[in-house]
Symmetry: none
Subunit: 208 residues, 4 copies
DNA sequence: GATGAATGAGATTTCATTCAT
DNA sequence: TATGAATGAAATCTCATTCAT
């Protein structure tokens, strides 16, 4: 109860920070905006977090950790690489559907911020690519995926497709309604596995 | 010669801004850093540009315009969609090879900056996706690409793969030596057209 | 026992404040540092003292009162001015030997702090000079000290010598080991009474 | 002219800082008070000085350097130790007469500030004592001063007498009018050389 | 054109103090 | 008594921008 890590107010500040970072951007917003959004005095923000940066670090680390765990669980649970990647894409798209602000903050403020937070959390970011890469390596061994595939490239490409779709949603360049999530997830998997002109993959799925 | 748009000093300031934005980030750097990099007094920056933001706007608009022109030219010149997209990927990778700082700035500071420059230049950014989308629409009509493909999605996915590779180079997560540019370009096209498990595409190219 | 003035915790807080003020300085330290040093919650500091300033006021007033009492007792008890001043110097040096932190705080944070605590406690500080001055006035009447001596000046000079020695110890500019206390006390009295070149005084004492 | 070290505005800021530090104390005053006193925007303070602390450092170092130079010159120029110390006392008292605020700042905020500026400038402060100590060592060799004198102690005591007189003036505990400077200087030298009861020294001077 | 001194709004952060428990 | 979460005034410092030269 008195553990500061589980304080309700702390959680409220974190949630407010997500909304404010998403709405105004990390650099454009002020700590007092976050405090106001959380309906607390802004001194309390500094009671729980040493700095504005620490807020974003905490948000990212917590969420990214959840994603890494999810990827590991998927890797352990699903049978084929195709289903694994589909599950990963599902998880990320579902994350966006449920918490678009959080995903926006992670992508816009961390994942591409090569000069600040991205550089700081490179290990965490790279870990995601590595996990996806391992799934692909295994798929090559099983014959699921072409042998000559560059695993590292393919992992990044797969993640790039997903992140770009998210970016499209964030910017309003791609329709984001409920009905699109599933279709887009399917399309992403199809693209990565079968390509734009691969009838075989399409047929295989049609027959299934 | 006396056209302020073509002044040598102006160009030096712009080039310096690219280097400094790439090195330190737009928010972290100071106008005086840019002036120092350009070896001019920082008052001169304000002689040529109304604000720090205008520098980044200018950098982005100029370069993005060149890219849009290139895409249009490629669209007009190449025979097949595959070759068109290959040429576009080539152009972008080549741009990075020649001017990595410039591309880093565009991707990191503009293209994903949903709350600031990205939002400001959404029309320009969207135009690129639209052009790629048109290439794909045409390809569907010609039967080059599966009919059921969601063109908007596919355009973003294609660009997402490219941007992610660039991001990998920027972060040092992907090997960036000279020899990788071509191979990666090929892999990107192959992935998008043939997918990870499409032998047909690979064979087709092997036979060519 | 239940008198808040004599509470054990209160005393612990006061003692902790002395250590912390001595170690970090009044301005540089935080109330929570004092509470941590006293091993109490920092709310308790405010239970016993109305403010951080009140802590220093209490420390100073308490100790300075002890010193004034001691001076008065010495004045009443010792026969000659020389012995009186020697006893005063002894008392102060002894105070530093036993409680260097306390004396450091009094000198550094109060006695010379012309814009804050020094000004606030000017009456108390001046009282010490006045008492010493009275001893010297009496000594002049008795012929112990030169008639033309400016008593106020001499009192301050005497105290100045003592305080400077303490400052030297505080800063580590003067050797502060046990063996130096007595020697320094003698030297201070000799200097004030006999000066640097007065053999007579030295001889007189040697003969005694 | 354009040397920032000799800028008029910079000098105005420094002079204003002296007045404000003297009037309100280093900790109690705000940088904006200094800027207002100097009649400049407070950004300019940071144009010339990196921090509020740097202002005090600069003030101290500049002035203390002048004093050390003066002491060295006096050491080289005067014949006897008595005259040397008299000249040093003169110089310091004269400094206070001409620039009481400056001397107040140096004594109150630096020379006794064991936890902040005093500690930072200990070398400079100690150098003054060392120079005075050398004068006394030489005086012992020449027989001017008792052989058994502890030089380090005596140097600090001498300086302590002077500083205490200054403190008395600062606090208004000692009369500070023009006519007192000379008398006090004489008294300080007499005290240190002849002591409170040394007729010999007094006679010697009376006869001179 | 070119410079950099000058400005001041505004941001982060600290920490003495209050107060509910 | 005792605690420490909560508050917010206030301080330092940064830096984009202006402007006199």
């Amino acid at each position: 109860m008195s553990d500061p890590e589980t304080s309700e107010r702390r959680a409220a500040i974190l949630a407010a920070a997500v909304r404010v970072f998403a709405r105004e951007g990390f650099h454009a917003c002020r700590v007092s905006d976050i405090a106001a959004e959380a309906q607390v005095g802004y001194g309390l923000v500094y009671h729980y977090f040493p700095s504005k940066e620490a807020l974003l670090d905490t948000i990212f680390l917590e969420r990214w950790g959840v994603m890494l765990d999810a990827i590991r669980a998927i890797d352990a649970g699903e049978p084929s690489a195709r289903e694994k990647l589909a599950a990963i894409a599902s998880f990320i798209f579902e994350s966006y559907r449920r918490e678009p602000d959080l995903m926006k903050v992670i992508i816009v403020e961390v994942t591409r911020a090569a000069n600040s937070f991205g550089a700081r959390h490179l290990d965490q970011i790279g870990e995601a690519y590595a996990l996806i890469g391992e799934i692909l390596s295994e798929a090559i061994r099983r014959g699921e995926v072409r042998a000559q595939t560059d695993v590292r490239f393919a992992a990044m490409a797969f993640y790039g497709v997903i992140e770009q779709v998210l970016t499209g949603w964030i910017f309003g360049l791609l329709p984001a309604g409920e009905e699109h999530f599933d279709r887009t997830k399917q399309a992403a998997i199809e693209l990565v596995f079968d390509g734009l002109c691969g009838e075989r993959g399409a047929q295989r799925r049609a027959g299934a």
